[in-house]
Symmetry: C2
Subunit: 520 residues, 2 copies
């Protein structure tokens, strides 16, 4: 049967025969996708229909493009090229391009294998990542890949292959022979800006920490959004390298550079269904860490109501998985299971979070943010071998108390183009505010991450840097009628109004009560 | 815990507060999707980004739309509306529409349940189908639903719910108290035009057979493409009803009417990965049959190399599954496992297949098409109770030999707007032909469905009705050097040339040989 099987697998490029030539008509539409518009009748003649992917060739270069068709806006012999594609490929009106049928992506067979519960080889996973980067896979196909990985799981070997392919999908930061460390948080906790406290502590201790952070997708602020209050965060890899070689630390936006770029494409597909296949999460995070050369890494795994990991037991499993994969990729990992049920710090929103961070670096600030940051920085100092086991927390605290962490932070702010003389009082907060007070006496049972984040977002965060929520109380606090509980900040009256309207349907603070419900 | 859970589930329409108003700027681009273009900065102000789905409201109506953004082609206060959407909603330049944040589709939670291997309730499946029809689910989400159903399977209860939801997704054909029968083929066999022979036999026998067929997606011709050589095939449900009430039979394009329309949307997503979850296949086919009121149905399950079902055992399982689900939906089903390894009939391509059908109806024509059609028609006569078990084949043969089937066919052709006096010699075939002859003596071992279909398609089928392949030999035939094997027909020299070029890389006919391969 050997020969038959080979014959069926043999690929025949018969459609390639149908190449045709068009002249470019630029169209000013931005879509974030490589879209071309072909004349409908002419495209049909070549067996090309709306939604097809084809190759467009010009001047020795080739792009995978998605086809729209129209009988009116493009004549036969013309191809409408959307703005993103035209600028990317430097195409101008009248340029001649070739439209060529695209091969069926090789990955489709491998995705099908995963759906059929077969193990994928390293080369197959690399092909999937490569073809996603080449834009050869549609959203339909990529969604099937992620769904397959979610349902059928990825083996450790597959995760490692995916992590390496993630590294290879982009550029890498080469800092030379320095001790490089990093941290990552699984996310979901409002106001959790430990990164901005940890990086200066670690850098002041002499380790290199080239931290890349994300912007918010649905929350009130990402670390990159918050850091942006104080400095630029968009840098090239070369610029990041230069900052880190000077200051030993940096806090930049990861999406601004080409580190592990396949990850951004996958996140866009994973996001609508909140699909986080564990193997992809691990490959994504550890791939990014590998891309910056990190050797020792602290992973923050917040656990509790409303965050990704609901129970400690599950947190422990995930932690062990991180350590196992990290080990096989030559990275030392320690995962900390942290209480993630409530926001960390007082502020939720870029400007308010900056206030918290600066205060902590000055030795005051919210207890929870201070304690968590010192704990994590201490563990990282221990993990990297910089200080002995059990002495990390005190070392981190010493660096903050000596003022070295604050000085280091301002050095980083300056290298990233910010004002190193900036004070807490210089941070502009929204001037439209509303303070919510307690309408009953009792004790605070729960402050909800997602709800607080939602209110801050409706008030304008993260785009309006001064918008957000300042929480005056923590869980367990006793309050009396009329006590301040939280204050909403907005940069316009309209947005404050949006937030107040939303508040009517939301319950960001729950008071303790005995009767939780009655089931009949 | 009851109350907490309820609180977390409670949906808050806070984004709805952010409704904004725009004036329509029509844009002449056809995309097959509901796309609008918003001013980028203005959209951001309202937390709307490229790729988001939002609601657009106008004049009491509402549409779910996909957002593109541009700073240049639309000013703040304008919304670019693509042609399909504008004409569908009768929007013209300057009309005022409201842009409203859309709720997260309810289905997303149910899709996630399926991914997590939980059983779905009937109401949950109905919601998924409803939201697909409302265009509320993106391709990413629909792909996850299909992938989940593929990997985790659908229970009989889920399949039945999906079949009923499929029926309810569209309109239904109501023929009153007549005995209604139908047939369906799983597909994959080139030239397999049994429907066009069966319908007139069954209708001539006094049963009602309102057959809806598909057009080709990737093959050389679908039954609707082939029937279109002789008559119209695009009718409304009312028109179909009127034809069937007169002639008892019809052969029309199913996509032209609103029977089970959700199916077309699912097929578009299933197609790129060739994902055919068995449960969806059953729900789709039986939902369509239920939509036309069929009571007795013959299912043709072709088995063999290169078709969907490779082995008889697998065919038997699928057949039993059809019967089980049909039984619970009050439809009597008999599934026939047929030899599907080679094309049926001599012609592949619309015109050539019509020639085969007309010849069979006149009592001659290719043996395989004649035999298979009579067998299936006979079984359907038996299943419906019209004739006794064991006497169906002879009854069907009698109807053909008496000329009644041919007369009935021409009656249907006329009612569908065709010429009832048309003869075989009137069918226009491509005038550019090339005949492939044997370059060796031997016997024919295999004629490949997919390859023959591909050659016919490259030669222009199904759009060029006269294009296709005429196969002169069947499996097992002995041939000598120079004997004609098959002839390619095309309507233009260029297309014949495409097909000949393609032929160099294809092997549509395999000769018998002893040594099949050598493994070292």
């Amino acid at each position: 049967m050997v020969e038959y099987v080979e014959k069926q697998i043999k690929k025949v490029d018969v459609w390639k025969l149908k190449t045709y030539v068009c002249k470019v008509k630029p169209m000013d539409i931005f879509t974030g996708k490589n879209i071309i518009v072909l004349n409908k009748s002419e495209a049909q003649e070549h067996d090309i229909y709306s939604g097809y992917r084809t190759e467009m060739r010009h001047d020795g270069r080739s792009a995978v493009v998605i086809v729209d068709v129209s009988d009116e806006i493009v004549e036969p012999g013309e191809v409408g090229v959307f703005r993103d594609l035209a600028s990317w490929h430097k195409l101008k009106k009248g340029d001649t391009v070739e439209i060529v049928h695209m091969d069926r992506p090789e990955s489709i067979g491998y995705i099908k294998k995963k759906l059929d519960k077969e193990a994928l080889r390293e080369s197959e996973i690399k092909t999937i990542v490569k073809e996603i980067m080449q834009d050869k896979l549609s959203e339909i196909e990529t969604s099937a890949w992620i769904t397959g990985a979610y349902i059928n799981g990825l083996s450790d070997e597959e995760i490692i292959a995916l992590a390496h392919a993630t590294v290879e999908s982009g550029e890498q930061l080469n800092l030379g022979k320095h001790p490089i460390v990093d941290k990552h948080c699984i996310g979901g906790v409002a106001g959790n800006r430990t990164t901005m406290v940890m990086v200066p502590i670690i850098a002041a201790a002499g380790l290199y920490m080239p931290k890349t952070s994300s912007r918010s997708i649905t929350s009130a602020s990402g670390t990159a959004d918050t850091m942006e209050v104080l400095s630029n965060v968009t840098f090239s890899i070369e610029e990041l390298r230069s900052i880190v070689l000077k200051a030993k630390g940096a806090i930049v936006w990861g999406g601004g550079m080409k580190l592990a770029p396949v990850d951004d494409r996958l996140i866009r597909i994973r996001h609508p269904l909140s699909l986080d296949p564990e193997g992809m999460l691990l490959a994504s995070i550890l791939g990014k860490k590998k891309s910056v050369g990190a050797e020792s890494i602290i992973i923050d795994v917040p656990v509790g109501r409303g965050v990704k990991v609901p129970y400690v037991e599950r947190g422990n499993e995930l932690a062990k998985h991180f350590i196992r994969i990290g080990d096989k990729m030559n990275m030392k990992i320690e995962a900390l299971i942290t209480d993630g049920a409530e926001p960390v710090g007082n502020g939720v929103g870029p400007g308010l979070e900056c206030v918290d961070v600066l205060e902590v670096l000055q030795g005051s600030g919210p207890d929870d943010l201070r304690h968590k940051s010192l704990l994590m920085a201490g563990k990282l100092l221990e993990l990297s071998g910089k200080v002995d086991r059990g002495k990390g927390y005190a070392a981190a605290e010493g660096i903050v108390n000596s003022g070295k962490a604050m000085a280091k932070f301002m050095e980083i702010v300056e290298l990233q183009g910010g004002n190193p003389k900036l004070k807490v009082s210089d941070i502009a907060l929204g001037s439209y505010t509303h303070t919510v007070t307690s309408d009953a006496a009792g004790s605070i049972f729960h402050i909800d991450n997602k709800t607080m984040s939602k209110i801050a977002r409706i008030a304008g965060a993260p785009r309006d840097k001064g918008a957000g929520v300042l929480i005056h109380r923590v869980r367990g606090d006793r309050v009396d009628v009329g006590d301040k509980v939280f204050t909403i900040f907005a940069e316009s009256e309209a947005k404050l109004d949006f937030a107040l309207k939303a508040l009517k349907d939301l319950e960001p603070i729950e008071m303790r009560k005995m009767l939780l419900g009655s089931v009949k």
